[in-house]
C-alpha cells in the first residue's frame, strides 16, 4: 500500500520547484549567453613559452596519449665570454599538441623542468574539423596571453626559489 503522505509531499516538491524556477530563474547557466565562473587554476588549454623550452622531450615522453610532437635542431650561439667556444643551443622546429588526443592530465606541465608549459582556463577552441585541433607552435605561443597570474603564496609559507626566473 503506497504511503500517501509521502506521495503528496513528492508532488508538492515538484510544484515548488516549478514556481521557484518561474520566479527566481533556473539553477543552470545559460551558455552561451552567460559563462560559468571558473575555479582558479582551471585547466582549459596548454600554452607554450618557447624561450624556456630546450627540447628535452620530457613532456613528449611522459604524455600518456603521445599527443606532443617535438622536432628540434642544435644551433651554435656566440660564446659568453670572449675567447670561449661557441655554445650549442636547442632550437625548436616543431612543437605541436594534438588536442583531439590530449586528456588534460597535466603531466607534461608538471614534468617540464624549465617551466615552458602553462595551464590556461580557455576552453572555447572547438573546431568543425578534427585536424584543426592540432595546435602548432605559434598557436601555443598565443595561448600564453591567457595564462593567469600566479596566485600569491599563503601567509607564512616558504617561497620556493625558482631556478628559471619567470619573465
Amino acid at each position: 500500500m503506497p504511503k500517501v503522505p509521502g506521495l503528496i509531499k513528492g508532488l508538492s516538491i515538484t510544484l515548488k520547484e516549478v514556481v521557484k524556477t518561474m520566479v527566481k530563474g533556473a539553477e543552470t547557466v545559460q551558455y552561451p549567453h552567460e559563462k560559468e565562473a571558473l575555479a582558479p587554476r582551471s585547466r582549459g588549454v596548454i600554452a607554450l613559452h618557447e624561450d624556456n623550452c630546450t627540447s628535452c622531450m620530457l613532456c613528449a615522453r611522459e604524455c600518456p596519449d603521445w599527443c606532443i610532437y617535438i622536432e628540434g635542431h642544435k644551433d651554435l650561439a656566440p660564446p659568453r665570454r670572449a675567447g670561449g667556444s661557441p655554445r650549442s643551443v636547442n632550437k625548436l622546429d616543431r612543437f605541436d599538441i594534438d588536442y583531439s588526443l590530449c586528456m588534460y592530465c597535466g603531466i607534461c606541465v608538471e614534468v617540464c623542468p624549465f617551466e615552458a608549459l602553462f595551464w590556461t582556463p580557455e576552453y572555447e577552441y572547438s573546431e568543425p574539423r578534427i585536424a584543426d585541433l592540432l595546435h602548432d607552435k605559434t598557436r601555443l605561443g598565443q595561448w600564453m596571453e591567457t595564462v593567469p597570474e600566479f596566485e600569491s603564496y599563503e601567509a607564512g609559507s616558504v617561497a620556493k626559489v625558482k631556478k628559471v626566473p619567470r619573465p
Binding site: 506521495l7 513528492g10 508532488l11 516538491i13 515538484t14 510544484l15 520547484e17 516549478v18 521557484k20 524556477t21 518561474m22 533556473a26 539553477e27 543552470t28 545559460q30
Partner: protein, 348 residues
C-alpha cells in the same frame, strides 16, 4: 451554427481537416508546454530556449530532424507489421476524438453510445503496441511489448468501470447527454454550478486518472517504456518519422483522454450556469460553439497538467506491484463505487 449550408461531402472534408487540427495542434502545444517546459522547470532548468521565442518552435525543429533521418528496418523484423504498428496507434487516437463534443453543435459524430465507442476504440492502441514489440525482432522490444500487454489490458478494466459509475449517474451513454446531465443537475438544490460529476464521483475520477496514466504508459506505470531498463521498450527499433508517430500518438491520446475526462467529470464544454445567468446567455446557444472549444481546451490543460505532474514526480512501479494495484485495489474500488452510485441513484 453553420452560416452556410454545406453538402455532405463538403461537411466531411471540413470534419477531416478539423479532426487533424484538433488532434495534432493540442498535441504539439502540450508537448511544448509540458514535456519541454514544465519538466524543465520542475528540474530547475529552462528547457529549449533557442528555437523561436522561448523555444516555442522546438517541435518544428524536431519534425524537420525526424523527417531527414534514415528509415531503419531491423534485419529480422516483420516488415509489414513493423511498418504498420505506429499507424495503428495513431489511428486509435484519431478515432477517439470523433465522439468528444466541443459545443452544443460542435461535434464530429453524436453516437447514442458515444462513451462505449470511445472506450472500445481506445483499446486499439494496445494492438499497435503489441505489434511494435513483437515485430521489432529485438529482446528489448519484446520485453516492452509483453509488459505492455499485461499492463494495458489490466488497466482497461478500472477505466471502464470508473466510467460506468458516471454513466449510471448521468443515465445515458451519449456524450452530449452526459454534458447535459452536468449542466442541468443541481447540488443540494442549488443549480448555480450545475452538477459536475467530479463532486459525487470523486472515487471514479481518481480511478479514471490512475487508469489513464497507466493506459498512456506514463510513469509511474511506464514499464513498457522503462527507459533505464529497456532502452525505450517497444519503441527501441523505431527511428525518425516512425518514432515521431509513436511520440505524437502518445501525446495526442493523452490530450483526448483529458478531453474525455473533462467531458465526463468536469462538465465538458459548458461553463457553470451562474456565469451564463450573469451574462444572460442560454447554455445551449450558438455562442457556445465558439466558447466551448476554448473551455474544453482549458479543462484539458488542467487534466493534462495533473497527468504530467504525476509523471515527472514519481518513480516507476515494478511489474507485479503494478498488476496488484490494478487487480487487487482499483477494480474492487471501482465496483464499490458502482454499487454506491447505483444505490444512490435509486434512492435519491
Amino acid at each position: 451554427m453553420l452560416l452556410l449550408e454545406l453538402a455532405y461531402w463538403q461537411e466531411s472534408i471540413l470534419k477531416l481537416l478539423l479532426g487533424f487540427i484538433v488532434v495534432l495542434v493540442p498535441a504539439g502545444v502540450t508537448v511544448y508546454l509540458y514535456l519541454f517546459k514544465m519538466v524543465s522547470f520542475m528540474q530547475s532548468r529552462l528547457g529549449p530556449m533557442e528555437a523561436g521565442p522561448y523555444g516555442s518552435l522546438q517541435l518544428l525543429a524536431e519534425l524537420g530532424k525526424s523527417a531527414q533521418k534514415e528509415d531503419i528496418f531491423p534485419d529480422k523484423a516483420d516488415r509489414i507489421v513493423y511498418a504498420a504498428a505506429p499507424y495503428v496507434v495513431i489511428v486509435s487516437s484519431f478515432l477517439l476524438v470523433l465522439v468528444v463534443p466541443f459545443g452544443p453543435d460542435a461535434y464530429f459524430v453524436n453516437f447514442d453510445t458515444g462513451i462505449f465507442f470511445a472506450l472500445a476504440v481506445s483499446s486499439l492502441s494496445v494492438i499497435g503496441i503489441l505489434m511494435a514489440g513483437w515485430a521489432s525482432a529485438s529482446k528489448y522490444s519484446l520485453m516492452g511489448g509483453l509488459r505492455a500487454a499485461g499492463q494495458l489490458i489490466a488497466y482497461e478494466l478500472p477505466l471502464i468501470l470508473a466510467v460506468v459509475g458516471v454513466v449510471i449517474q448521468a443515465g445515458t451513454l451519449n456524450m452530449q447527454g452526459i454534458v447535459d446531465a452536468q449542466i442541468n443537475g443541481e447540488i443540494f438544490g442549488w443549480g448555480g454550478l450545475g452538477n459536475p460529476f467530479i463532486l459525487t464521483q470523486f472515487i471514479a475520477f481518481f480511478i479514471f486518472m490512475v487508469a489513464v496514466q497507466a493506459e498512456l504508459t506514463q510513469t509511474p506505470f511506464d514499464m513498457p517504456v522503462a527507459e533505464s531498463e529497456l532502452v525505450t521498450g517497444y519503441m527501441t527499433e523505431y527511428s525518425g518519422f516512425r518514432f515521431l508517430m509513436f511520440f505524437i500518438g502518445e501525446f495526442a491520446t493523452a490530450n483526448i483522454f483529458a478531453f474525455l475526462g473533462a467531458t465526463l467529470f468536469l462538465g465538458g464544454w459548458s461553463v457553470p450556469p451562474f456565469v451564463t445567468d450573469m451574462l444572460g446567455l442560454d447554455p445551449y446557444s450558438a455562442w457556445f460553439n465558439l466558447i466551448g472549444p476554448i473551455v474544453m481546451l482549458t479543462k484539458m490543460l488542467l487534466i493534462t497538467f495533473v497527468i504530467y505532474w504525476v509523471r515527472f514526480t514519481y518513480p516507476r512501479f515494478r511489474e507485479d506491484q503494478l498488476q496488484a494495484f490494478a487487480w487487487k485495489f482499483l477494480i474492487p474500488l471501482s465496483l464499490v463505487n458502482i454499487a454506491i452510485t447505483g444505490v444512490a441513484k435509486v434512492v435519491f
